[in-house]
């Protein structure tokens, strides 16, 4: 968003003045909350915020201009915090409430939403964590992997699917020329931690908490018992985040299988992709993998879109 005007326009008689007014109000709404969830007392130029708010918002007999603006400021942040918490339960569990909120506030301040839908809110989170490691230290490596994994889930949930490559198409094309695409909703992840298992544990814990939420005693017991899901220990993990019959799944992959899929996704023809799996891949094993991937409908004709696979 462009910098707001020094003062909100007193009249709105043109689209330019409407835009200036909207920049002013939107800039105020998206400013980070104070520690006690209030509107910041000073405007970006140092003037008292109550004076700035009074320039364009009418007070009423119960609320000042400042308080009315604060309602919108709070609603903005509470809405976005809720959305990011919903999308990133694993990251929240790994960082803890305070660090997660600090990360979310910094992220949303530096990378405000550029999409009409909250679905895309976390699309730039992995990159942001990489650029601002101090916000997640000392768990930055873990946070990066969880953010990548949780965004992959969003893609798997409602990402594009293309017509599945048929057995006939595959059979009639020589392996040296056959190039297969991976469905756009699949993300291949090479991780240093078993993030899939961790996220499953976190979701189970959250579901149990939710189940107990109507019975305060039980909720307290559950909260004590599940205060913290143990963080995953380092262990190389290769996983495809995908969907099948429109349900979300995480499929563990053998490292060689991961390399083959990555090579196919990268555009190599089938024969070279299989070779990329390494010398230890036996034909029988490769056939079994392909049979499974075909059954899952993972292959499609290659498109022009760049693959999102992470290494």
């Amino acid at each position: 968003m462009k910098r707001p005007p020094k003062h909100a326009p007193s009249r709105i008689a043109s689209t330019a003045q409407l835009r200036a007014f909207q920049r002013m109000m939107a800039s105020a709404i998206v400013r980070p909350l104070t520690a006690d969830d209030g509107l910041q007392p000073k405007w970006i130029d140092g003037r008292p915020m109550d004076r700035v708010a009074a320039e364009f918002i009418k007070p009423n007999d119960r609320l000042t201009s400042f308080e009315r603006l604060q309602l919108y400021n709070r609603m903005y942040w509470f809405r976005l915090f809720d959305a990011i918490r919903d999308d990133c339960p694993g990251l929240l569990a790994a960082l803890g409430e305070r660090a997660f909120r600090r990360l979310a506030q910094e992220y949303l301040t530096r990378c405000p939403s550029r999409s009409f839908t909250l679905r895309n809110l976390c699309s730039r989170l992995e990159r942001f964590i990489r650029e601002r490691p101090a916000l997640t230290a000392p768990r930055t490596a873990l946070a990066l992997e969880i953010a990548r994994f949780e965004w992959a889930q969003t893609i798997a949930f409602d990402g594009e699917s293309r017509p599945v490559a048929t057995v006939e198409h595959i059979a009639r094309t020589p392996p040296g020329r056959l190039r297969l695409g991976l469905q756009p909703y699949i993300t291949l992840l090479a991780l240093k931690h078993p993030i899939d298992a961790y996220v499953i544990r976190v979701k189970r814990r959250d579901a149990l908490r939710s189940e107990a939420s109507n019975t305060p005693d039980a909720a307290a017991r559950v909260h004590r018992a599940f205060r913290r899901t143990p963080l995953p220990r380092p262990s190389p993990t290769f996983v495809a985040v995908h969907r099948h019959n429109n349900r979300l799944f995480y499929k563990r992959l053998d490292p060689a299988a991961f390399r083959i899929l990555g090579a196919l996704a990268g555009g190599l023809p089938l024969s070279r992709a299989i070779a990329a799996g390494g010398p230890g891949v036996r034909p029988r094993q490769a056939r079994a993998w392909f049979k499974s991937w075909m059954a899952l409908g993972w292959f499609c004709a290659r498109g022009n879109k760049r693959r999102r696979n992470a290494s």
Partner: protein, 282 residues
């Protein structure tokens, strides 16, 4: 006026919002419902479960699209990619009309994901109407704009909210989705008479109505959609129905959502007021 050109000359009755907690019930029990309102943005995706579910609903039910991100009142131009995606959904659902809010919420491509109130000025009305026309012409479907609930008023405003709404819909030649709960909420927050609002609208342009619950705080009322409809809102709905005629009506319940039957039962209370309006008209 049950059917008019602003709701595609349809004659829909009482609907409810299609919400995730009710999916399983709807698909397994197939309850009788006049129509469902969907939030367009929830289905403006490229694949997966949302579209599968929508197609299953469309096999059984009439669906009307309601949007939350068109931001007719934003100074920014309509986003072509967004419109293209929305048009694809319009074709898929066959919605007889499409609604979104008379508000703004984005500037310079940054989204607040809120329904922010407009400054009620003639210039803002002209700009808003121009965008509504552009969107309608592109989507080729009638459009109804919904009045929002608000918590702030602006010094720059040159007219009342209902005058602004009337100005916009006349300039755009579009319909109104009259949210009587939003009128009630804003009337309490800004100290106007909600009946002045309802009485002074171009009633022939009302293509749909919304009812919902709200939450009263010490100094203001919030439009929370997490309660049954309160009596003052039903009374306002009765007045609006007498003035506008029996109109497609939808109950919004978006938080602390109870069972399907409870939500549907609450929506069907509108029938009591519709019957009253019919009797009064005889």
């Amino acid at each position: 006026m049950p059917a008019n050109r602003f709701n595609g000359h349809s004659d829909y009755g009482i609907g409810i919002g299609l919400r995730v907690p009710h999916y399983a019930h709807i698909l397994s029990k197939k309850p009788v419902v006049d129509w469902f309102e969907i939030i367009s943005e929830n289905f403006m995706v490229e694949g997966g479960r949302p579209l599968e579910l929508l197609d299953r609903i469309l096999e059984q039910y009439r669906v009307v699209q309601h949007g939350v991100s068109m931001y007719f009142g934003s100074a920014d131009r309509p986003d072509r990619a967004h419109l293209k995606r929305l048009k694809g959904l319009v074709r898929r659902t066959g919605t007889p009309w499409l609604s979104d809010h008379l508000c703004w919420g984005s500037v310079d491509g940054t989204y607040t994901h809120d329904l922010l109130p407009m400054p009620y000025t003639f210039a803002a009305a002209r700009r808003t109407a121009e965008k509504i026309r552009q969107v309608r012409d592109y989507l080729e479907v009638p459009i109804c704009v919904e009045n929002v609930s608000s918590y702030a008023e602006f010094h720059a405003s040159e007219m009342t909210e209902w005058e602004f709404l009337a100005e916009v819909v006349e300039l755009a030649d579009c319909g109104i989705l009259l949210d009587v709960n939003n009128i009630y909420v804003s009337s309490k927050n800004h100290g106007f008479n909600p009946y002045d609002y309802v009485d002074n609208l171009p009633h022939h342009r009302v293509g749909q109505m919304h009812v919902a619950g709200h939450t009263r705080f010490e100094k203001y009322i919030l439009d929370t959609h997490d309660h049954p409809v309160l009596d003052p809102v039903w009374r306002l709905y009765a007045r609006a129905t007498r003035l506008c005629g029996v109109t497609a009506t939808l109950l919004e319940w978006d938080d602390k959502i109870p069972s399907f039957d409870e939500v549907h039962g609450e929506a069907l209370k509108a029938n009591d007021f519709i019957d009253g309006a019919k009797r009064a008209a005889v």
